[in-house]
C-alpha cells in the first residue's frame, strides 16, 4: 500500500527523466526524437496507471466480471499513440530535410554553420 502505491508513479518519473535528458543533452536530432518518444510513453503509462483498479479487468463488459478498470484514460491514450507516431513521422521528415540542407544532423554543427553564414 504505502511504498508500492507510489512505485508505479516513480517509475513513470524515471522514464520521463530519461526521455527529458535525451531531449536536452543529446545533440543528434534522431536521438532527440527517440527521447521525445520515451517521454511520451511515460505520460501514457501515467494515464493508464491512474485508470487501473487492482483486481479489475479490461473494460469489455461481460456478465462474469463486475470490476472494470477505467476506460476513459485508455481512449485518450489510444488516440494519443497514433497521433504521436504521426507527429514523430513529421519530425523525422524535418530531420531528413535538415540533413539534405546542412549535410549533418548534429545540433552543434548546424549552429556553427548558421553562425558562419
Amino acid at each position: 500500500m504505502s511504498a508500492l502505491s507510489f512505485l508505479n508513479y516513480w517509475f513513470v518519473i524515471i522514464l520521463m527523466m530519461v526521455g527529458f535528458y535525451v531531449l536536452i543533452a543529446q545533440g543528434n536530432l534522431v536521438k532527440k526524437i527517440v527521447g521525445l518518444n520515451i517521454f511520451q510513453t511515460s505520460v501514457f503509462i501515467l494515464y493508464i496507471s491512474a485508470g487501473k483498479i487492482t483486481g479489475g479487468t479490461a473494460p469489455i463488459l461481460d456478465t462474469q466480471w463486475s470490476v472494470y478498470s477505467n476506460p476513459l484514460p485508455h481512449v485518450l491514450i489510444l488516440t494519443a499513440i497514433v497521433v504521436g507516431v504521426a507527429t514523430s513521422a513529421l519530425g523525422l521528415s524535418l530531420v531528413v530535410r535538415i540533413k539534405e540542407a546542412y549535410g549533418t544532423i548534429e545540433e552543434d554543427e548546424i549552429a556553427q554553420m548558421d553562425e558562419s553564414l
Binding site: 507510489f6 524515471i14 510513453t41 469489455i60 507516431v85 531528413v96
Partner: protein
C-alpha cells in the same frame, strides 16, 4: 526492464541499434499496458510503436546515416535540471491517490460510472473503449483523425519536394 532499455538507448551511439531498441522498448511497454488492463492501448502500442515507427526510424536512418557523433560522457547541467525536475515531480506524487484503489476520485466520477453502466444498452457494444472512443467522445476522435491527416499533408509537403542533387525525388507527378 523498460527503464533499462531506455537507459541503453541513451548510451548507444549506433543509431541503427537505437532504432531496434526503440522497437523493443515499445513492445515492453505494450506488455506493461496489458498488465494494467489496457488491452486496446497495448494492441495499438504493439502495432504502432513496434511495427510502424521502427520501420519509419529505419527509413530515416537510411537517409541520414547511422553514425552519431561522439558525445562528451555525461553533461552536468542537463543532468542537474532533469534530476531537480524529477525530484519535484516525485514530491508531487505524494499527493496522488494510491495506485489501484477502487475508490480513487477518477473511478467515482460520474462520466466513468455512466460509461461503465449505461454504454452496453446505449450503444449495444460490450467493449467500452470502442463505444467511448467512437460515440461519447466522437468529436475528440474526429479531431485526432484530422490531426493525423494534417501530419500526412505536412510530410507530403516536406518530403515531396525535389532533391538537391536531382537524383530522383520521392514523387514524380504527384
Amino acid at each position: 526492464m523498460l527503464a533499462v532499455t531506455a537507459l541503453i538507448v541513451v548510451r548507444t551511439q549506433n543509431l541503427f541499434a537505437v532504432a531496434m531498441l526503440t522497437g523493443i522498448y515499445s513492445l515492453l511497454s505494450a506488455t506493461f499496458f496489458t498488465l494494467l488492463d489496457a488491452v486496446d492501448v497495448a494492441f495499438t502500442e504493439a502495432a504502432v510503436g513496434a511495427g510502424v515507427s521502427t520501420v519509419l526510424m529505419l527509413g530515416t536512418l537510411s537517409l541520414v546515416g547511422h553514425r552519431q557523433k561522439k558525445q562528451r560522457t555525461v553533461q552536468i547541467v542537463p543532468l542537474l535540471i532533469v534530476t531537480v525536475t524529477g525530484l519535484i515531480l516525485m514530491y508531487g506524487t505524494l499527493d496522488i491517490p494510491p495506485f489501484g484503489e477502487a475508490d480513487n476520485p477518477i473511478h467515482l466520477h460520474e462520466t466513468t460510472v455512466h460509461y461503465l453502466e449505461e454504454s452496453s444498452h446505449e450503444t449495444g457494444m460490450p467493449n467500452v473503449v470502442t463505444s467511448v472512443l467512437a460515440s461519447y467522445r466522437g468529436y475528440d476522435t474526429m479531431g485526432e483523425t484530422t490531426v493525423i491527416f494534417t501530419a500526412m499533408v505536412g510530410v507530403l509537403l516536406l518530403m515531396s519536394g525535389r532533391k538537391k542533387d536531382g537524383t530522383g525525388g520521392a514523387d514524380d507527378g504527384e
